[in-house]
Symmetry: C2
Subunit: 358 residues, 2 copies
């Protein structure tokens, strides 16, 4: 009755590869709400019995809800360690959810846009993800989920502070909203540092997207809110959307300027990356991210036409270590993964450029 | 009546791309003989009149010869500076022949295997080149040329020392014999340093192949004799051929070992190089040499089959700066050359891999 993870590993995530607004810069939008059930200790100080109660209450709430289906509910002990890694790569659970704690559970919707972690840091972490810049829509869905699920649960709420959470940084709205954005233009022109400084001054957090290593990879950045207290959900969403829209404009300007001033260098960068992806026999996940970043840049600039952003996003997902192992149905060491990753990338690109290889 | 250099720039050099022995390691074999005409000062101390006499004598000797044709004779003032660069890249004249000295001339055979520099360091520098390991054959041809041309010239010869030359290092046989070899296996395994040390101990000279910069490029090395005195032509040739044959064996061993121990890394190296050559929009001549070295390695190992050594050699020749400018019929700065070079490489590879792109 649990989701078919093997099948999932073979298909793109709909929060990443469906049509969306501004997808040439914004990969996805995400809203996460933290909630806790009244009268029960929070996970970090709760005993097994309490945690099982939480799991059981939420399971019942899912049964009673109008928008959630029983099939999406999974007890964490049903998950292999590879499946957990896979779900982290798919942005459906947090890395801390991997801890060996049996009294946890998970809900994943068929389209993966809605997911719930039960007994992570808080009793409930409800998440909604959409492709492109759709932060309001993601919030609407999260809010709907909140009403639907929590109507049959008593939630800790303080008239002065708002929603109560395990960590004080989440108290208030209990909301964390974020966008994942691709900024190769601002990185290449060197303007990225100023942009990051400006975002930080506005009380938002920018962080790079990390792979197996610890460097910022693939020119991918995440912008999210730092504060959850003292501002309404809509004010928080608005500040992120506003800054994102201004970054989209700046990124567009940087891209245009680069094409005007260094057309051949840009083409060289884009096409070399494509050549390496198409022919390498060994690729680390870091290199794939960086090479895909260049190809994505070329697609966004209209200089590469026989592959589209969805296919790039799909390769980006599939090339992650756990995805690869799920896809090929076996556990592999790094050297084997690098070889199999290169093979997968070649196969995907061969499919896409049958249309018209330049 | 001079050779058609534009036509020449569009075709491979027959000393490089015709079938030959051991071509997977040995690109070409070359023998050069230095001779001087009795009673005339050598070029470095001769006046214009004397040098013109030399040119005129040699022209007459070419007329009278049985194997040389008048069409191959060119006065150096007929050569543009671009054409001179082109001939250096084609190994038909030495870089010093580029000096602005009007009283020089040149002979080039239709197939470019035979060439003569007149008034370079010596009155005559006769050269014969063959593809692959054919040093004896190259010597035979040079010797034939020597007899044919010098039968109507009186040549400086000392019964004790042998042939006299401008530089004492050439006195005796006046012969410089060399092979151009590709040693990616020995470079990758790190054994190359020992090999070079051993060759040097035998009184032979090993030097890297230089491009526009000053690094050894493309794993190409030239082995030649240092001494011309105290050993017969055949002894000199034999020592080069013997050491070359032993290097061919060692290179073969290194290649086999690499494929056995690091098959995927080798394939990765080979195919990445191919991907870069096939898609880059800007390539320096150094990078082309290094990438072609990797592809050549793949071809020699039988891991790449849709391109052959001749095509690689042809791209190697064509990608040199003067060749590119001759080919495209215009002078270009480096940035333009790099772009045009990448274009030429792409076109050539597209032709070759129509057969079967992997």
């Amino acid at each position: 009755m649990t989701p078919d993870f093997d099948k999932m590993a073979r298909r793109p995530a709909s929060w990443l590869t469906a049509p969306g607004q501004q997808t040439s810069v914004v990969l996805s939008s995400r809203v996460r709400l933290a909630r806790n059930i009244s009268g029960l200790r929070y996970p970090n100080s709760a005993d097994s019995e309490t945690m099982q109660k939480v799991v059981s209450y939420v399971k019942t709430a899912i049964d009673r809800s109008s928008s959630l289906v029983n099939e999406g509910f999974i007890e964490s002990n049903e998950l292999s360690s590879l499946t957990r890694d896979f779900l982290v790569e798919r942005h459906l659970i947090s890395p801390t959810f991997l801890d060996d704690e049996p009294n946890r559970a998970l809900y994943i919707d068929e389209d993966e846009r809605t997911s719930i972690m039960i007994n992570e840091e808080d009793h409930l972490r409800m998440q909604s993800m959409y492709p492109g810049l759709h932060l309001y829509r993601a919030y609407e869905r999260a809010n709907e989920l909140d009403s639907d699920l929590c109507s049959s649960l008593e939630i800790d709420y303080d008239p002065d502070f708002g929603f109560l959470t395990a960590c004080p940084t989440n108290v208030g709205t209990g909301m964390r909203a974020s966008v994942l954005i691709h900024l190769p233009g601002l990185v290449l022109t060197g303007e990225i540092d100023n942009v990051i400084a400006r975002i930080s001054k506005m009380g938002l957090v920018v962080r790079g997207f990390y792979g197996e290593g610890s460097d910022v990879l693939g020119n991918l950045f995440q912008i999210s809110n730092q504060t959850t207290l003292g501002a309404s959900e809509n004010e928080i969403l608005k500040s992120i959307v506003t800054i994102t829209e201004s970054i989209i404009t700046e990124e567009g300007d940087a891209r245009n300027r680069l094409v005007e001033e260094a057309e051949n260098q840009i083409d060289d960068k884009v096409w070399r990356a494509y050549g390496i992806l198409k022919y390498a026999r060994s690729l680390t996940s870091e290199e794939v991210m960086n090479m895909l970043s260049a190809v994505r840049f070329g697609v966004a600039l209209g200089r590469v036409s026989f592959i589209d952003l969805d296919q790039i996003n799909e390769i980006l997902l599939l090339s992650q270590p756990a995805h690869l192992q799920m896809y090929y149905g076996e556990e592999m060491d790094q050297s084997k993964r690098d070889a199999v990753r290169a093979q997968m990338v070649r196969e995907r690109l061969r499919i896409s450029d049958r249309r018209s290889d330049p």
